[in-house]
Amino acid sequence: MTVPVGYYLILAAALFTIGLVGVLVRRNMIVMFMCIELMLNSVNLTLVAFSRIHGNLNGQIMSFFVMVVAAAEVTVGLALIINLFRLRSSVDADDVRSLRS
């Protein structure tokens, strides 16, 4: 009863897709951000699976760095969202359209 390693990859792909659709469908900026985190996690999962495939730890190191950067990114991103909220009293992504035309 074995689990071919490809199943992990399929799972990661599915998670990635779900996160992607979430970014496009949800309007709450914070929830969009969370979906982006989900996408990052799916990539991490893929990296770890490939690390196991290739038999060295490079994938895991890469995944480690992705996590660090994700943490930094979340910090700054949430600060920005707070700033935006201060201006518009809303975190609806559709309210931020000053780039229109």
């Binding site: 490809g6 399929i10 495939i53 895991q60 190191i61």
Partner: protein, 229 residues
């Protein structure tokens, strides 16, 4: 065997929590679903012989990042139900369609070579063997000889020390940046965006919730003092 069981419990859990995160109207509920997802992934990391990463996942992702998210959600008070649709209602189905297309593409290109039963990785129990199976998974038995933490540490501080140092600088920058962006704005030129038309409140000051500055950076050690500028 154990891997089989664990996988088939955790995988649906991860998928299910992700999907419900997608569909939950309440933002806090969605965040909690995401936490659950992260836990499932952490278990999967453990199964994939990435024990260190599993721990880090729980500590950093579920423990810090999601807490940060929840704090912001609660403090901004935007967890209320989100009205469905909005101005880009029509984008939804197309997004799903393209997403599915992307999934299929990824599955075909990335996952396809590794789906046959020979591609199962050798069990952790059979230690010390880097067997070349007819399949393509090598397994981390060799790399994890002295334990996963030790292995990662060796690689991290020899081959990858330079990126390691850079990411530490990155973290500092992120912290400083967050403080700068999040501080209370008293001068007009501090404002990032000046459009009065879409701004429901006549002026950005006084800040409706004076608390968030000090707590917005709660995720990082509180380098206090710069809330008043």
């Amino acid at each position: 065997m154990a891997e089989f069981v664990v996988f088939w419990i955790m995988a649906p859990l991860a998928l299910g929590s992700a999907l419900s995160m997608l569909f939950m109207r309440n933002a806090v509920h969605a965040a909690l679903m995401l936490v659950l997802n992260f836990f499932a992934i952490a278990v999967l990391y453990a199964v994939l012989e990435a024990q260190f990463l599993a721990t880090i996942q729980i500590v950093v992702y579920a423990g810090a990042i999601m807490v940060l998210f929840l704090f912001v959600l609660m403090l901004l008070g935007v967890h209320r139900d989100e009205a469905p649709g909005g101005k880009l209602r029509r984008q939804g189905p197309f997004a799903v369609f393209f997403g599915v297309v992307l999934f299929v593409v990824l599955a075909i290109t990335v996952a396809q070579p590794f789906l046959s039963s020979e591609d199962a990785c050798p069990d952790q129990v059979a230690a010390g063997t880097e067997s070349t199976e007819p399949g393509s998974c090598v397994g981390l038995a060799g790399a994890n000889r002295e334990g996963n933490v030790r292995g990662i540490g060796l690689r991290l501080f020899t081959d990858y020390v330079w990126p390691f140092e850079v990411t530490s600088v990155l973290l500092v920058i992120a912290a400083v940046g967050a403080m700068v962006i999040g501080r209370k704005k008293e001068n007009a030129e501090d404002l990032v965006d000046q459009l009065p038309s879409t701004d429901p409140s006549p002026e950005p000051e006084p800040d409706p919730e004076p608390e968030p500055e000090s707590l917005a950076v709660a995720g990082e050690p509180d380098l206090e003092g710069t809330t008043e500028s």
